[in-house]
């Protein structure tokens, strides 16, 4: 007996196939995609007027384990992820201790195996994420590392960054750069401008990001190494990538769902859940990010899911840690892009096959004979994201009590219904 997804509207980003198709899942894999597949003996999910897409792939999240299990564990993070439609998530190495060696990478990998979706560890670029000595890439890859990043920290030493990029020529995994001049951004807690001036909060200029984006691109050009730029937030960064992508094939970049939705205005009132790194910028920047998605400059959308406890977030805006949770609000925020003229199939590409290609993994598509990782959602259901609905262990979201449009109904991972909204 298998699972038959019936009458759904399939959007398949790898082949571009789109339309009403049935999908039969048996033994973890997609057995058949076709019209009018007989339902005899199968568990049928009726998906009339629903969208069927590959499970979402997030290449930027923080699961906090090991070290901060009070904020999130790999298991609770995976629960939050599958409720948001994800079947593959890639977690950053800024844990305690960090994922800068084979032991900690293996730990996360194994915990991931026991969680609700695929968890792919990202190793650190440098030991202890200090930007000083290269970390052992090959032993981490052996234990499951799919990319390398010192996320949260920028590698300020350009020579170290150069070496790290050179090694990608050998191991073929991307370097995910948190591009930020940390001397320029030092002490800053929000975008620098009129609002930071009014609120009396130390600002982070856009240039802190743009200078390092330009540097990283130049180093990618110098080395031919594989560079992926994390969470771009400014018009200048998007322009720099656009300008260089014309002739450089080794650079990709991402944007978060919250930077596509919010601006620095969300900080007014000192809302600690509007404190993120990099900071929320201006409306002009936000629109430029959407433009970058549209014209293909930006390759994918990520969550940058970053759980923090209530106590930490309530310690005053300047003291509060950066970051918000992101899995559960991700789909409705991404669907808002339709209002800006981005087609649904384009959006799905940027949250499935797009990010999977960056990691060079066989994910983010629905294909006969391949692992069945599928999400079924209704783009029109409106619902309110209240505190009791939050699956993550932490509740730090600026979207609390927002009316959201678009809801995940089923998440199927390795052929099993791992999450359904009907529970």
């Amino acid at each position: 007996m298998g699972i038959l997804i019936k009458n759904g509207y399939l959007i398949e980003p790898k082949t571009g196939k789109e339309g009403n198709f049935d999908i039969l899942i048996e033994d973890c894999i997609v057995k058949k995609i076709g019209k009018n597949i007989p339902s005899k003996g199968h568990k049928v999910i009726d998906c009339k007027n629903k969208i069927v897409s590959p499970g979402f792939v997030d290449l930027h999240c923080h699961l906090r384990e090991p070290g901060r299990e009070d904020e999130e564990t790999i298991y609770t993070g995976s629960l939050s992820a599958v409720s948001g439609g994800f079947t593959t998530i890639s977690c950053m190495p800024n844990t305690e201790p960090p994922l800068d060696n084979k032991v900690t990478v293996r730990f996360v990998y194994e915990k991931g195996q026991k969680s609700l979706c695929e968890v792919l560890p990202i190793g650190a670029i440098t030991k202890n994420r200090e930007g000083k000595e290269l970390a052992p890439y090959f032993e981490m890859i052996e234990e499951g590392a799919v990319a390398f990043s010192d996320d949260g920290n920028c590698i300020m030493d350009s020579n170290i960054m150069r070496r790290a990029l050179e090694y990608t020529l050998l191991h073929k995994k991307p370097i995910i750069s948190h591009s930020e001049d940390q001397n320029l951004s030092k002490n800053g807690v929000m975008n620098e401008g009129f609002i930071s001036t009014k609120l009396g909060l130390p600002g982070i200029p856009k240039e802190a990001e743009e200078i390092m984006v330009e540097r990283d691109i130049k180093l990618a050009k110098l080395t031919g190494g594989r560079l992926h730029l994390a969470h771009l937030t400014t018009e200048g960064s998007v322009e720099a990538v656009r300008r260089n992508k014309k002739y450089l094939k080794n650079i990709t970049c991402e944007v978060t769902a919250h930077h596509l939705t919010l601006t620095e205005d969300a900080v007014v009132g000192y809302n600690p859940n509007a404190k993120v790194s990099p900071p929320l910028r201006t409306e002009r920047d936000r629109l430029s990010l959407i433009e970058g998605l549209k014209d293909g400059t930006i390759d994918c959308i990520v969550t940058d899911h970053a759980p923090h406890t209530f106590e930490e977030k309530e310690s005053g805006f300047e003291n509060a840690p950066f970051g918000i949770i992101g899995f559960e609000t991700f789909l409705p925020l991404c669907l808002k892009l339709v209002d800006y003229g981005i087609k649904l199939k384009e959006i799905i590409y940027k949250i499935t096959y797009g990010p999977a290609r960056i990691l060079n993994i066989e994910r983010g598509f629905i294909e006969e004979g391949k692992q069945a990782n599928i999400v079924i959602f209704d783009p029109d259901i409106e619902w309110i994201y209240t505190k009791d609905k939050i699956k993550s262990k932490s509740k730090n979201t600026p979207f609390l009590n927002w009316k959201l449009k678009g809801k995940v109904l089923y998440t199927i991972y390795k052929g099993n219904i791992i999450y359904s909204d009907l529970e």
Binding site: G193, G200, P202
Partner: protein, 307 residues
């Protein structure tokens, strides 16, 4: 117009009329401090708590005297920054004290926004006594009061605020206050200490102190924190003093009917030379005196609104 607010967080939110109410009420309270019995029963039976997360003697004393002259009971509570590390949040601290049935918190905090957050979590009144680099509303109100008393008006005057605008809550509150009451405001200081897009508040920017002092009715000097030099905002204190300090020569250049103001405490020898600080055309001690009347008015209006 009538005063309706529970709290005073900043001048940015206040309407011109609300500022005028405070100034008018302060005017009627000013006499109390001149009497031999310096007390009125306006807030008898009310409890006011000074909750200071950042050390301050002058502002605290001024609030304490203001509350006492209104017959309120006053408690001063110094919360060292280590209590945050002990695990109690600032909201916990305030709620704990509120559970003892107090009517008003006067809050000074090193973090911008702290009084606002506390005010949203307690039903007692909250008066901001200075938060981070955000606002210091009672300082600006006493400055407005002092200027109005001296000049008989505020509208049409030109005030230059000089010094470290970037880190100054006094500057921000004064910008809002003086703009709302119709004055022209110029900010002046070394470029690294002028915050981005400050001109959107309607102020003009100049880096030239001589231009500022020659063309202003009020020269408002800010205190320069010595740490700014270590943070590389200035090459040296000596150079700052040379570029932006008021010495005898600059004092001679101020307009005939102009005055120098300073929120205190003065850094003698840095933003102002000693011989000038003692001069006739400074309003520094008047500001301190008027501080009591302003704080009485603010306490009376915020706590007394329920009466």
């Amino acid at each position: 117009m009538e005063w309706k607010r529970k709290d005073l967080i900043g001048l940015e939110d206040l309407k011109k009329e609300e500022i005028e109410i405070i100034l008018d009420v302060a005017n009627s309270f000013k006499d109390v401090s001149k009497r031999s019995v310096k007390k009125v029963p306006a807030l008898r039976g009310k409890t006011v708590v000074n909750l200071f997360f950042e050390p301050s003697t002058r502002t605290r004393t001024s609030f304490e005297l203001a509350a006492k002259r209104l017959s309120a009971d006053v408690l001063s509570f110094d919360v060292s920054s280590s209590s945050v590390a002990k695990g109690e949040t600032m909201v916990d601290t305030a709620k704990n004290i509120e559970a003892m049935k107090v009517d008003c918190f006067i809050i000074r905090h090193f973090v911008s926004g702290a009084p606002l957050i506390i005010s949203q979590n307690v039903s007692a009144s909250v008066i901001n006594a200075g938060d981070g680099c955000h606002e210091h509303p009672t300082q600006a109100l006493l400055d407005l009061f002092t200027v109005r008393e001296r000049f008989g008006k505020i509208k049409g005057l030109r005030i230059s605020i000089i010094g470290d605008i970037l880190h100054s809550r006094v500057a921000r509150s004064n910008i809002w206050g003086f703009k709302k009451l119709g004055a022209e405001v110029i900010v002046c200081g070394p470029p690294p200490l002028i915050p981005k897009e400050i001109e959107k508040t309607g102020v003009k920017i100049t880096f030239d102190i001589d231009f500022a002092i020659e063309n202003s009715d009020i020269i408002y000097l800010l205190r320069l924190q010595r740490e700014r030099q270590k943070e590389n905002f200035l090459p040296s204190l000596k150079e700052y003093s040379f570029l932006y300090g008021i010495d005898r020569e600059r004092y001679e250049k101020i307009k005939e009917k102009a005055f120098i103001m300073h929120p205190g405490p003065m850094n003698r020898g840095i933003e102002i030379k000693s011989e000038v600080a003692e001069e006739e055309r400074t309003l520094i001690l008047e500001q301190v005196t008027n501080g009591i009347a302003i704080r009485m008015a603010v306490l009376y209006l915020t706590i007394g609104r329920k009466i």
